[in-house]
Amino acid sequence: MPPLTEHVVLRDLDIVNIADFDVYLQHGGYEALRSAVTEHTPADIVQVVKDAGLRGRGGAGFPAGVKWGFLPKGVYPRYLLCNCDESEPGTFNNHQIIDRNPHQLIEGIAISAYAIEAHTAFIYVRGEFAAAARGLERAIARAYAHGFLGKDIFGRGYDLDIFVHRGAGAYICGEETALMESLEGKIGQPRLRPPFPAVAGLYGKPTIINNVETLANVPMIVRNGAAWYRQFGTEKSPGTKVFSIAGHVKRPGNYEAPFGTPLRELLYSPDYCQGIRGDRKVKIVVPGGASAGWLTAHDLDVTMDYEALAAKGSMLGSGGVIVLDETVSAVEVAYKMDEFFKHESCGKCTPCREGTYFLVKVLHRINHGHGRKDDIPLLHDVYNQMAGNCFCLLGESAVVPIRSALRLFPHEFEQAISRAGNGHAIPLIPAH
C-alpha cells in the first residue's frame, strides 16, 4: 500500500508550523467549522461522519457517528468530552496531535459539539502532559479571540465553550466512565453500565466521549466529504491511522498510514521504521498497546486494520505498536507489562486488584530466578479466575500479556523455573 502523499491528521508533517493559529488559518483552518455552522444542520454533520465510517481511535473502534446517534432526543444540556488521557503503554499519537496540530483538534471538537448540540466541551488531558495542556489552552484562547469559540459563533446563535482539564496521574481515567468520575472531582473508578454515557454521563447528563485522534479527523471529513475519506483504508476500517511505533526499531515515531497497511511494511519500509536495530530478529510485536495480544515474527504479514488483527486474536487497540527483538526475555516482558496493570488497577473489584497482585508476585519470582515447580499452572489458574470476571477492561487486559507469553513462549517459563534449583521450589525467604 503506498504511503500517504498528504496526511489527514499529522498535517504538522506537511505544513511547517501548523500549530500556529495564523498558519492553520492560511491552510483552510476553521473553514470546516464555518461551513458546518453556517451551511449545515447538526444532523447533516452526524450523517457525513457516519457515511465516512469514522471509527473511534481510543481502542474499541466504535463508529463515531453511530455513537452520536445514541443521544436521547430533546434532553439537554449535553456534553462533549475529548479523551486525551493517553496512558496505554506504547501509545503517543494524541501527544503529537495536541503538541503540533492543536487547532485541528479544537476545530474537530467544535464541529462535533455542534453536531451533538453540546455547548460545553472538556478536554481531559493526562496530568503528565502539563506543557501540552498549556499549549492547548493558548490555542483555545486564540480561537475564542477570533470568534470561533464562545458566544454566537459565525453569527448563527451557536455558543460553545471548551475547557482543558488536567488529570493527575491514573491510567484508569482513560476509561470513559472513570474519566467522568475524575472530572467530577472524585477518584477515577469506572461506573456500572447501563446507563451508558450517551444517556447519563458527565454530571448525569447525556455525554459523548471521543478520543483526540477521532475528533481530529472530523474537520477533514467535513471539508472533503465521506467519499474522499473512504479512498483511504479498507471498507470496514476506512481512513488512516496514526501508529505509534517504538521499541527496537531503527526509527521509532508516529506514522500515519492507511488502515490495512501490512505490519511488515510499517516495520521495515524506508518510509516508516526502516527495520530492527542491529538488524536483529523480531521476537514480540504488541500491535495495539499493552492490552493487545502478542504477535511474533510469523505474524508480520497481518494488515493493520480492526478486522485482520482481531482475526489474529489480537487487536488494533490504541495503535501503539511495541516492537521487541530477540534480546528480550518473554518472562520479563510479561512481568513488566503486568506490573503496569497492577500499578494502575483502581482497586474497585477483587479479581483485578488481587489477580494483578498475584500475577506480578509470581512473575517477579520467576523472572528473578526463584520460580517454583507449580508456578506455571498457578499462573494459568490466576488469569483464568480473572478473565471474564473483572468490572472493567483494565482487569481483562491484564490477562493478555501473561496468557500471550505462556501460549507463545512456554519453554522460557519452564527454563526459568528449572534453572531455579533443578526444578525444586526455592522459597523467597530461605527456611532454616
Binding site: S87, E128, A131, Y171, F340, C346
Partner: protein
C-alpha cells in the same frame, strides 16, 4: 497566607469552568501542593473548605492520583518511565545512573531537598526512550551519563537562580 488570600482570583477562575464546584478539586490540589511543597493535612482541609467538601473526600482523591504528593518531595521531582518499551530501551541504565549520581534510590529525596527520584509508567513519549520528566517537563533521549550530568546540573542551576518551580507542572514549557 491562605490559598484564597494568595490566589483567590485564580481559584475563582478555575471554579467558574465547571457546572459543579467539586470538579475543581484536582486543579486546586495542584495549586495547594505548589504552595506548600506537598499536600499537608492543613492544605487538603483548606481545599475541602473552599469546595464545601468533607475533608475525607479530598484525602481520598489525594491518595488516588500519582501526581499528588502526600509526602514531602524535592524541588525537582524526577520521574523516569520504566514501562514497556522503555524498560528495554535503556530505562534501567538511566535509573542506575541517576541513583549513583544523586546517592539516593528510587522514592528517596536528596539530603539538600533538591531532587526526588521516582519510577513511573508510560509517559506517552516512548520514541524518545530513555526519558524522564522533571516537574512534568520532558527530558528525552537520555542515553549517556554525560547527558544526565548536564541535566542535573542545569536543573540545580535553575532552582538556585530563584526560578519559580512547580512540582505540579503549572509552568511546564516542554
Amino acid at each position: 497566607m491562605s490559598l484564597l488570600e494568595k490566589s483567590g482570583a485564580e481559584i475563582d477562575a478555575i471554579i467558574a469552568r465547571y457546572p459543579q464546584k467539586r470538579s475543581a478539586v484536582l486543579p486546586l490540589l495542584y495549586l495547594a501542593q505548589d504552595e506548600y511543597g506537598y499536600l499537608t493535612d492543613a492544605a487538603m482541609r483548606e481545599v475541602a473548605t473552599i469546595l464545601d467538601l468533607p475533608p475525607t473526600d479530598v484525602f481520598e482523591v489525594a491518595g488516588f492520583y500519582s501526581l499528588l504528593y502526600e509526602q514531602p518531595v524535592g524541588r525537582w521531582v524526577l520521574q523516569v518511565c520504566d514501562d514497556v518499551p522503555c524498560a528495554f530501551c535503556g530505562a534501567e541504565e538511566l535509573i542506575a545512573t541517576i541513583q549513583e549520581r544523586l546517592g539516593i534510590t528510587v522514592d528517596q529525596t536528596t539530603a539538600d531537598g533538591m531532587f526526588t527520584l521516582q519510577r513511573v509508567k508510560c509517559l506517552a513519549d516512548c520514541n524518545h526512550a530513555p526519558l524522564l520528566q522533571a516537574n512534568l517537563e520532558y527530558h528525552r533521549d537520555l542515553t549517556t551519563p554525560q547527558q544526565v550530568d548536564q541535566l542535573l546540573a542545569a536543573l540545580r542551576r535553575r532552582a538556585e537562580s530563584g526560578e519559580k518551580l512547580s512540582i505540579s507542572g503549572r509552568y511546564a514549557e516542554q
